[in-house]
Amino acid sequence: MTVIQKKADNPIAHLSAEDIENLGRELDAIRERVIASRGERDAAYIRKVISTQRKLEVGSRVVLLFSLFPPAWIVGTAGLSVAKILENMEIGHNILHGQWDWMRDPKIHSTSWEWDHVSPADQWKHSHNELHHRFTNVIGKDNDLGYGIMRVDEDQPWHPAYLGQPFYNFVNACFFEYGIAAYDLELGKNLKHGRHKTPEFRARVRAVGRKIRRQVLKDYVVHPLLSGPSFFHTMAATFTANLIRNLWSHSVIMCGHFPEGVETFEKTSIEGETRGEWYVRQMLGSANISGNRLLHIMTGNLSFQIEHHLFPDLPSNRYQEIAPEIRALFDRYGLKYTTGSMPRQVFSAWRKVFRLALPNRRRPAAPIAPIDDTVDRPVPTLATAGV
C-alpha cells in the first residue's frame, strides 16, 4: 500500500473531475432514497436487536451465577460474549454514529447513548466519527491507520520499534477496548507534547477513569459477588467474554482498512476536496467482508465497511440492501471494490502487520515525513508503487 497519488497505476487516473462529481451525485441520490424510505421496519429492527441483546445479556449473566458448573460456565460465557459483541458493534457503534437519531427516541440517540466499553461515548464519537470518518486513510490525519502504535503503510516511516508490532498488535487485540480508550485520549501525543497537565485533558482522563471503574466493578466485582461460591468462575467468564469481544472487534476493524487493496491518501490531497472526491476516498479506503447474515450482524454490518464509510449515518440494516447497487457503481466507474471472506481479510491484514514490521524492501527516494498531524508537512514521493 502506498498513497494513491504516487502509484504508478493510480486507480483513479481514468476518472475526470466531471466523472467524480457525477459519481458523487449518484451516491447522493442513493442516500436520499434510503433516507426517504426510512420507517417503521427500520425502527422495529433496531428495537428488536436491542431487546434481543438485553435478554441475551440478562440470561447469560443469570446462567453465570452458577458458573461453578462447567456447562453453565460455557453457555454463560458464550452468551455473554455474543451479547457484548452485539452491544458494541450492531448497537453501540451504530447508535453513536447517529444512525437512529431520526427516530427521535431519546433512549436510542447518539447524544444520550452510553455503551459497554471503557471509552466514554463522547470521547469515542470525537476520535471515531469526527477524525477517522472525516480523514479516512489520510496518512498523518487518520490515526486509525495503525492506531499510532503500528506501521500499516509503506509511507509511514520505519523505526526499529516497529519490529515488535506483531506483538503489540496482538496485545492490543486482547485488550482492544483499553487501546481504544487510550487512543481516544490521544494519550501518546498528549504525553509527548506535555499536554497531559491541561485541565481539559485531565477532565477527559478522569472521565475515562470513572468509566473504567464502573465497567471493572460490574464485570469483576459485582457479578462475581452475586455468584457467591462461583465468584472466581464468574470473574474468569466475564474476562473471557471481554477477551472474545475484544479479539472479534479488533479483527473486524482490521478488515475494514488494513487488507491489501485498500488505498491510502496523502495529506495534501484532501485540501479543497469536493464531495465527489470525498466519496471516492471512502470507496477506495475501505474493504468489505463477505459472509452470511449472522456475520453481518455480529460485525455490526461493518462487513459493509465501504457502504458504511460512504454513508456513516444510514441505518446499519440498509447497508446490505444497497451493497449490490454500490458495487455496480464501482464497476461502472472502473473502481476496485475490495472484499473477501473474514479469514482471508484477517490474514491479509496480519500479513501486512508482519511485513511492515521490517523496513521497506526498496529504499524510498526521499526522506519520509513522520506521522504527526501537529506538523503539517506533505508526505514526500515514494519511488515504490504497491509493494
Binding site: 440478562v58 447517529g98 466519527n129 469526527e130 472525516r134
Partner: protein, 363 residues
C-alpha cells in the same frame, strides 16, 4: 439509557441505595432499561400507556382507550394529555383532550382523535394504530377546566374536534345542576363526534344543543350568537375549535367587555411557518441572531460567540447535534424541513441545518 440521568430517588434512603447498587449491576444502562422490556407500565417507569381499544366515532374520528402506566396521576375534565406516538418509526408528540370520566388512577382513560387532512399523527391514530401499541404519555395538563362549584349558566362554543374537552366535562356530571347550552359546528350530522350521545343529552334536558352543519348552513358567524343564545354574554363560556372561531369569539367577547367570561383552548398556539432564514435564539446563552437561509446554524452561533459543539462540519459525525426547542430548520443537503414545538424532543445537526423561520436552539 445513559448513566448520566439524575435520579430523584438516589438519596440515602434504603431504596435509593438499593437502586444505586442495581445501577452497578446494569451499567452502562440503567436497571429501568431492563425492566422496561418486561413491564413498561410499572410504577416508577417513564409514563407510558398501552392502547387497549380503538373505537370509531365518525368516518374520520376514533376514540382510543389507553391503559396508563402506574405513574399516571389522573386528570380533571377538560385537560389534555400529550401522546408520543411512533409514526413510520419517528416519535411524534401531539396533545389530545381526555374524554373519559376521571376514575381511579389505575383505570383506562380515553382520548378522541379526529383525522385532519395530511395529519401525520391523527390519521395514524384513527386509521392505522392497533390495540396493544405502547404510546408515550405526559401527565394531564391544561387550565381549560370547570371551576368548583360549576357556574349555574354555561355556554360551550365548539367546532369539530373541539367538542372533546367539553365531552369530558359533560360526562363528568359536574354540570348536573347547571343550565348548559352547547353550540357545536360540524360539516354534517354524521360528522358530529359523539353526535348520538350529545343528542341523547339534549333529549334528556341536560343541555340545550344547537347543531350547526356547516356544509349546508355555512360557517358560524359569532355574531349569530345574539340570536341563537341571547344571554350568551351572561354565561361562563368555554370555546374550543379552529383558530378562526377562537379569534372571532375573543374579538366578540372583548368588544362587549366580557372577555373574562370566555375561556378558550388552543392546542397548538404556535403555528410554525417555514420560510427562508430567520431569527435564531440560543436559549441558554441568551443570544439572538438573524440567520440567512444558507448559513448553517453552527456558523450562525459561532459568529455570535455561542460556544457551539462542533465536529466534522460536513454532517457525518453528529458531534454538533443540539435540541431544537421550537421552530423550523432546513437540511442544507437535501432541503428537508424539520419543525418542532416545545416537548417534541427534536434534535438537529447544526452544521448542515439552516434556519427556515424563527427557531430556538437549546444551548
Amino acid at each position: 439509557m445513559t448513566a448520566t440521568i439524575p435520579r430523584p430517588d438516589a438519596s440515602t434512603s434504603f431504596r435509593g441505595r438499593l437502586w444505586r447498587l442495581a445501577e452497578t449491576v446494569t451499567t452502562p444502562v440503567l436497571p429501568s432499561d431492563y425492566l422496561d422490556l418486561f413491564a413498561p407500565l410499572r410504577a416508577g417507569a417513564d409514563l407510558r400507556g398501552r392502547i387497549v381499544a380503538v373505537r370509531p366515532e365518525t368516518p374520520d374520528a376514533a376514540t382510543l382507550v389507553i391503559q396508563p402506566g402506574r405513574s399516571w396521576r389522573g386528570h380533571v375534565p377538560g385537560q389534555y394529555v400529550r401522546l408520543g406516538v411512533d409514526v413510520d418509526g419517528v416519535r411524534q408528540w401531539r396533545a389530545y383532550s381526555v374524554t373519559s370520566v376521571p376514575g381511579r388512577r389505575t383505570e383506562p382513560i380515553s382520548v378522541t382523535v379526529k383525522a385532519i387532512p395530511d395529519g401525520v399523527v391523527s390519521n395514524h391514530l384513527v386509521r392505522r394504530v392497533r390495540p396493544g401499541t405502547i404510546v408515550q404519555l405526559d401527565q394531564a395538563r391544561g387550565d381549560f377546566v370547570l371551576p368548583e362549584p360549576a357556574p349555574s349558566r354555561v355556554l360551550f362554543l365548539t367546532a369539530g374536534s373541539g367538542i372533546t374537552p367539553v365531552a369530558g366535562m359533560l360526562r363528568s356530571g359536574a354540570l348536573a345542576g347547571s343550565d348548559v347550552v352547547l353550540v357545536h359546528s360540524a360539516p354534517a350530522a354524521a360528522d358530529v363526534v359523539f353526535g348520538g350521545e350529545l343528542r341523547a343529552l339534549a333529549e334528556s334536558g341536560a343541555v340545550r344543543l344547537v347543531e350547526r352543519h356547516t356544509d349546508v348552513d355555512g360557517l358560524l358567524d359569532v355574531a349569530e350568537l345574539d340570536a341563537l343564545v341571547p344571554d350568551h354574554l351572561e354565561r361562563q363560556t368555554w370555546a374550543c375549535g379552529p383558530l378562526g372561531l377562537l379569534d372571532a369569539a375573543e374579538a366578540h367577547w372583548s368588544a362587549r367587555g366580557q372577555a373574562e367570561r370566555l375561556h378558550t383552548e388552543r392546542f397548538r398556539p404556535t403555528v410554525i411557518t417555514a420560510g427562508d432564514g430567520g431569527t435564531v435564539t440560543f436559549t441558554r446563552s441568551s443570544v439572538t441572531v438573524e440567520a440567512p437561509g444558507a448559513t448553517p446554524l453552527l456558523d450562525a452561533g459561532e459568529n455570535a460567540g455561542v460556544l457551539m459543539p462542533s465536529g466534522c462540519r460536513m454532517g457525518i459525525c453528529f458531534g454538533c447535534v443540539l435540541p431544537l426547542r421550537q421552530g423550523a430548520v432546513r437540511d442544507l443537503r437535501n432541503g428537508q424541513l424539520t419543525t418542532a414545538l416545545p416537548g417534541d424532543g427534536v434534535r438537529v445537526q447544526t452544521c448542515v441545518s439552516a434556519a427556515a423561520g424563527p427557531c430556538e436552539l437549546e444551548i
